[in-house]
Symmetry: C2
Subunit: 362 residues, 2 copies
DNA sequence: GAGTTTCACTAATACGTATTAGGTCCTTGA
DNA sequence: TCAAGGACCTAATACGTATTAGTGAAACTC
């Protein structure tokens, strides 16, 4: 009776393996074995096999993916949990290439993605642990975003749930795929020094993220290795005080500025505008370098068409590698390196030149 | 013994209702009833209910969507199937705002999204029906993309699976949320006519998509209503022959060109370049109008900073409305209009002006 | 010709949740 | 004191497939 009413409601009911079994005169198990492929050492008579295949074809059988996944432990779905909206409003958002990489690799590996949209509500209710816990519906999960509620994540670590963070993390035991900012940032400073700059400033945002800390560390490392004075080297900004900062630096004889590029891009935008307002030529009057222009969103230098000098963050590759690592964790591969830093590609660009001969000094 | 070995193998197993039941000292059925909500006329003691809820919280229980789906038919997950990569390589891709709208509304409705990444392989294997079939793990599915394999879709219609197409479709019975291009396109022509133009051309791409057909229909409608000659009005292009077309039109005394804007943007890009090479001033020498600039990607007119005149496609709202419609279909709402066209917002822009007094005629 | 293998398949059960049909106790009314 | 009813919960089963253990029969071994 229930069956009949369901058939009425949904038109013709989808044929199942048991229907095929009835038609072909075999058991449901035989149908499953034949359609799925016999595991090993199992043999089915050629004729029976054909009868089942014919019946399946005739009935228009389609396996139910839900049942398939219930029966086998995996569901070939990877979670993607972002701590802001996944599709940001700002098209030029720097997250974007990472997501593209994630999708690309997931598709290549035959995995679907579950986008957890709880972010908005989770943010509203301040760290609702249930929101993060929901990711367990997937085989594993990728986390992405600068600011993360730590408590729910720790919970996942404890439970042994497979997940990978995109971006370096400080917490022990958290697998991640990040960018290797330290050497890349040091190398940018080295390039400025090689071009003749001795008075350099580093403009960074007010931010506690590991990515920011690493860049600063790299800049300091590069400065020390070149024998530069690191006092006053680092200047945090919110993007609004750029004019004052720039004026001060020019007065001090600064010839090059390194800028941190993050998802908001506030520091770079602020400085770029200030350079424009001051009527400075770049790189004629001032050399600029950017730490981590987002691939595909690469800003244009104030002067004209040339790209900023600095390095690119391998966003796409981070996304891809995170998927690979996650799948290894899910599979339980023992030898996998669970904390990975990918190298950043240097960008030649056109915003570094030799400094003008200093007036005071000559 | 089996349980124990599995626990060892996979670390700690995900908690199930039966685990909660054991902890709380009730049956699995009671757990399901309490967590899911008692149907009607069922009463559970307040104290028992609390014990179960506490145990669930303590164990970090999350319902298995696959099992949920198999047993009932809801899992609060909507599928999103795109017939190209979901995160396109081109950041300025016009699909983007639609996806943002989908995510926004899904989050608002407490639904997660399943991104089906089969697209790549499906495209490779030319219309593999299995790829589309995967969507059935979700409660319903959104389809998005200009070119769609029709056969698998028809299959879903037959099976009564709830889905919504983003973009108008010709096939009968397919629910969709699209943009109402016909009146919007006609209105653009009317605006040109009102500005004094009588010789107009419409540049469209070689494309069979309904969206293209609708725009052309609207342009023709607008032309007829203004009493214009529609012969030679429509010109398809691949973007490469723009110089020749433009030259011919100028010789004919054409004073305004309407351009179709699609996801590739080839037609507009080609014409814009041709206008530049011909040294024409827009709108001084030639008025331009664009049918459907993508929100957020709005092109700039060749002359300078002004936006193209024309209309905007309500991409974001289409995404949102598609989610709403899909949820209605899933809920089985009887009165829902299943085929919706949203109005396009006119864009004033700066590329329409009165035509120069024609030389030949005067 | 008793024992062993191989073949070809089936029975049974797991996967995790939803749902329905009861089953116990406890209170209440007559 | 017995029946009726309600409150509270459990047993049983369904959902559709995967998988393992096992079964009967034929074929082979010595």
């Amino acid at each position: 009776m229930t069956d009949a009413s369901r058939e009425r409601a949904a038109g013709r009911r989808r044929p199942r393996q048991s229907d095929i079994a009835r038609v072909a005169g075999v058991s449901q198990a035989a149908v499953s074995l034949i359609l799925r492929g016999t595991p090993s050492g199992m043999a089915l008579a050629r004729e029976t096999r054909q009868r089942v295949l014919d019946a399946a074809e005739e009935l228009g059988y389609v396996p139910d993916p839900v049942a398939t996944r219930l029966a086998s432990a995996r569901n070939a779905m990877l979670g993607l949990y972002t701590f802001s909206t996944t599709f940001p409003t700002d098209v030029a958002h720097s997250y974007y290439p990472v997501l593209a990489g994630v999708e690309e690799e997931a598709a290549a590996q035959g995995q679907d993605l579950i986008l957890f949209t709880g972010s908005a509500r989770a943010a509203a209710r301040a760290q609702d642990p249930a929101a993060v816990r929901r990711v367990r519906v997937a085989d594993g999960c990728l986390f992405f975003g600068r600011h993360v509620p730590e408590e729910p994540i720790r919970r996942l670590v404890e439970d042994g749930f497979p997940f990978v963070y995109i971006g370096r993390r400080d917490e022990p035991g958290v697998p991640y795929v990040g960018a290797d900012y330290v050497p890349a940032s040091a190398q940018v400073v080295a390039r400025l020094v090689a071009a003749g700059h001795r008075k350099i400033r580093y403009l960074r945002e007010h931010d506690q993220a590991p990515a920011s800390a690493d860049r600063e560390e790299g800049v300091l490392k590069g400065a020390r290795e070149a024998g530069l004075d690191t006092r006053g080297l680092v200047a945090p900004t919110d993007g609004a005080d750029a004019d004052a900062l720039l004026g001060g630096w020019l007065a001090e004889g600064v010839t090059a500025v390194v800028v941190e590029q993050t998802d908001t891009g506030a520091a770079l935008a602020g400085l770029g505008a200030a350079v424009g307002r001051a009527g400075l030529d770049c790189p004629g009057d001032l050399s600029l370098a950017v730490l981590g222009a987002a691939t595909g969103t690469r800003g244009r230098a104030p002067g004209g068409g040339a790209a900023f000098s600095g390095f690119d963050v391998p966003m796409r590759e981070m996304g891809r590698d995170a998927v690979r690592l996650l799948l290894e964790l899910i599979a339980g591969s023992p030898g996998a390196a669970t904390r990975r830093l990918l190298p950043c590609e240097p960008v030649e660009g056109g915003t570094i030149a030799a400094p003008r001969p200093p007036k005071k000094h000559t």
